[in-house]
Subunit: 198 residues, 2 copies
């Protein structure tokens, strides 16, 4: 299908992929950014109850320089999703044996999906309970996460290396579309939407 | 920039465009799907107060066959945005002199943006007050809107023609990211995000 859009657009059809939910993680300590493996999570329409990222809205921060700091905005960042494969790639590039999902506050870890960080906005992940989350954007690695990694690896240089190395490998942020349970080890159906270049 | 994604991905940089907010419309009658021109609208983080589409959540309907009908889900459809140019294209294809934005329940009408319906998910529209909305998806024309048009044109056949003709011309649905006023006749800055094909 092709239409006259800025000289012609091609619509690439949506696709169905499958993956495995390798890990689910929850905030272990209210004062910390880190998450720890849990057997499962209950997703509500506001995210993971008790998680600092839960809520329909949040305060604008350095990630949104186009809004005054502190302004209440639509969240779009309820969940952080990373992949086994991309975490391994980050670890290898840092020269560490592993980078754990919990160190950077991830909620869900997928396995078996190529280049998770490039899942386009609007991709839906369907879990076995019927719970569904929708990808909002590629996540940008920040020094905050780099600092958390450096604490764990004991290599202070990782604080600055991580944001560079993990660019386009740090997974995606997502919102909950339909509430429900998600269980570590279960299957995930991934629906990539139609895509085109504007 | 290129990476090994399913055989190589090319990241197309984001772009800044400008447009004009030609019209703002509000629900005139609580029992109706239609909207009527207003001098401006107050956007809250839940959408347009009093509009049946306002809210962080809504009930799943025929547009979401993957969720049981009636399940509470994340909204993603607070606002309907259409363009002067695409409405004219629909009217011409239907053989009518005009199709008004209000007939199909639009909230905002933009002018001066090519192929508005193809703005990708994650595109941000910035209004002069600082209010900001984020595009969620291309809107799909339905028979409900076709029926509303047929009532206005007096041509019963438009009910069935509209969903076919208006496919990929019916604008986008959006969520409010930052609250504020939007005023008919004012300027809009459009930030198209980076894009790639997964």
């Amino acid at each position: 299908m092709s239409r006259d859009l800025l000289g012609g657009v091609v619509v690439h059809p949506g696709r169905r992929l499958t993956a495995r939910l390798a890990q689910t993680l929850a905030v272990a300590d209210a004062g910390s950014f880190e998450t720890a493996p849990a057997a499962g999570l209950t997703l509500t329409l506001e995210g993971v109850p008790g998680d600092p990222h839960a809520g329909f809205t949040r305060r604008a921060g350095p990630r949104e320089p186009w809004h005054p700091r502190g302004t209440e905005i639509r969240s779009g960042r309820q969940l952080s999703i990373v992949s086994v494969e991309e975490l391994a790639e980050i670890a290898a590039a840092l020269g560490r044996s592993a980078v754990e999902a919990g160190w950077i506050g991830a909620d869900l870890v997928l396995e078996g999906l190529p280049s998770l960080s490039f899942l386009p906005a609007g991709t839906r992940l369907f879990f076995e309970s019927g719970a569904c989350v929708v990808v909002e954007a590629q996540n940008a690695p920040c020094r905050h996460a780099g600092r958390a990694i450096a604490r764990r690896t004991g290599q202070p240089g990782d604080e600055l290396s991580f944001p560079k190395i993990a660019k386009r490998l740090r997974g995606v942020v997502a919102s909950v579309e339909r509430a429900g349970e998600v269980t570590a080890g279960s299957g995930v159906v991934v629906r990539v939407p139609e895509q085109w270049l504007y």
